[in-house]
Amino acid sequence: MPTDNATPILQLKDVKISYGQIQAVKGIDLELYSGELVCLIGANGAGKTTTLNAISGTLPIASGELLYQGQRINTLPAHLRLRQGLALVPEGRGIFTRLTVEENLRMGAYTRKDKEGIEADLERVYSMLPRVKERLAQVAGTLSGGEQQMVAIGRALLSRPKLLLLDEPSMGLAPLVVEKIFEVVQTVVKEGVTILLVEQNANLALEFAQRGYVMDGGKVTITGSGEDLLKDPKVRSAYLGEVDEAA
């Protein structure tokens, strides 16, 4: 946490989320401070994606408090959350497959009116993701998984987010591509964007993240700095694929 007196950019207080009768998130507390890269790890079905969707506004919360920049956003529709700088790169990328790559990127800037700023940001995304630039006129559905993920991240950046939620950006991608994507993520953090990252690849995520939350069965079970979590025997055995030697 950079400064103690700062208001968190994002705060979840005892947030519960249900799908019909089934409670997927059973009351979690989470805080993010401006400029941080925080990761949320845990097994399949732990409630990570559900939590991100609720923060982005595409899923309603059942109870609790959702605060963004100190404002309560419990029922704010998703499109208005984006206007306030809260962007989500959804699980499975959510590319518009029938739009061209350039149209996809421009969709990210949908709410913006500053033409010059948009063009400048497009150039910035192209320089960050040179492979995307070669395929601007291509229909996005024809891209490879890694290229689609890059378009999805680039598209989210074009909204000039303050807080970027990334849901499993490494899913289904080759190690080299994953490396490239994490390079981009680091660049984005350096530029001052706060990131909440959900990852299956906990090793990688914790290596880059300042702090981490471990979710299990709809609750946060462990929390700490990235380094501490990497060393935590319970985390190692459960999520990092290592046998807990101490046990």
Binding site: A78, H79, R83, L88, G94, R98, L99, R106, M107, Y110
Partner: protein
């Protein structure tokens, strides 16, 4: 050369064109020929039995009529296809929006003619259109807002049945307001037909319909493909949730889609009424079904498909109507021309449910 080939040659028919590959056969060598006697019968039917229908002029005339009817179908089909593309809903009330457009225009035109007898017909036409289009746009918006939006997450059958109910509601309301009578639509165009080719006639109304439809369709294509709003419409059509993550107010986009479609329907309603000179409360039903057929024929959800489907359907129907008596051995006359639309609908649904352009998904709206 076989003797029957000479028979074809004498008729001016290239016999090779009659050689058709048999369906389901993978061997091209297995061909069969129309028996020459059949071809003769067919040829006689199409030419000598009714000499009035064998001329090139008649065919050209039917093509002109087909293009006119087809462009109206296309305008209406665009409304079906846009709503389907974005909501996956067949808005069966769309044809009735067309009817309201025609009746509102008729009402306004009649009022203007009574109040300001000196007003020119062009002015009357533009003012009545200027009234009908916003009324229909508001109606399209209201239909979506009041009925369909509540059913956004309901099982697909619920909005479909609601759409049919909405169609009945609009027809009944129109019947209450305008009665069951056929109202004659004031002649707002010069009636003397033009004759671009000897024997082929086209009325000023028809010329206007062709030009106006073309302009509207080009404008719509530009809107959908070149503007930020169009991009948002296409994005929403593909994925509401992700579109909302881009800051798109998807409800607003859906409303806009209904408003645009209803505006086009209003114009189509005025076109139909001007062309046939009548309007009445159930006039939207048949064009609505035909336009729906056109949308399916072109590939529902696809803008280009709706246009192509509309034109093709109009042509098939018009040309078919010209020859139906011969094709059915005098059993059916041209008032059975509606058969063609529904035969086409059946064939498309059975053999190519994706429609003519169904696989070209890149320009969906």
């Amino acid at each position: 050369m076989q003797p029957w080939l000479h028979a074809y040659a004498a008729l001016g028919v290239d016999a090779k064109s009659l050689i058709l590959p048999r369906r389901g056969s993978s061997i091209p060598a297995r061909l069969y020929l129309l028996a020459p006697s059949d071809a003769l019968v067919l040829y006689n039917l199409l030419t000598q039995v009714t000499p009035t229908l064998n001329t090139m002029e008649t065919l050209l005339q039917q093509i002109v009529n087909g293009l006119v009817v087809g462009s109206v179908y296309a305008l209406v089909a665009l409304g079906y296809t846009m709503v389907y593309g974005i909501l996956g809903l067949i808005n069966f009330a769309h044809g009735d929006v067309l009817m309201v457009g025609a009746l509102v225009a008729l009402q306004v035109a009649a009022y203007l003619q009574n109040t300001w007898p000196g007003l020119g017909t062009t002015a009357i036409l533009l003012i009545s259109l200027g009234a009908a289009v916003p009324v229909c746009m508001l109606m399209g918006y209201t239909i979506e807002r009041a009925a369909y939006r509540r059913l956004r997450n309901a099982p697909r059958l619920a909005p479909l049945i609601t759409a049919i109910g909405m169609s009945f509601l609009l027809q009944t309301l129109a019947m209450i307001i305008w009665g069951r009578a056929y109202h004659s639509f004031p002649p707002l165009f010069p009636t003397a037909p033009l004759q671009p080719i000897e024997g082929v006639f086209i009325t000023p109304v028809q010329v206007t319909i062709l030009v106006a439809s073309a302009v509207l369709m080009v404008a719509l294509v530009l809107l959908v493909n070149k503007t930020s709003l169009g991009r948002a419409m296409r994005a929403t059509a593909e994925n509401h949730r992700v579109a909302s993550l881009m800051g798109v107010d998807t409800n607003k986009i859906i409303s806009t889609t209904f408003i645009i479609g209803s505006g086009l329907a209003a114009v189509a309603g005025v076109m139909i009424s001007s062309n046939y000179g009548v309007a009445h409360y159930s006039m939207g039903f048949m064009p609505g079904l035909k336009a729906f057929t056109a949308a399916v024929l072109g590939g529902i959800g696809n803008l280009g498909g709706a246009m192509v489907g509309g034109i093709v359907l109009g042509l098939v129907e018009s040309i078919g109507a010209g020859y139906i008596e011969q094709l059915s051995f005098g059993l059916l006359n041209s008032s059975y021309q509606d058969i063609f639309a529904f035969v086409i609908l059946g064939i498309v649904l059975i053999f190519r449910p994706t429609g003519l352009l169904g696989e070209r998904v890149s320009d969906r709206a």
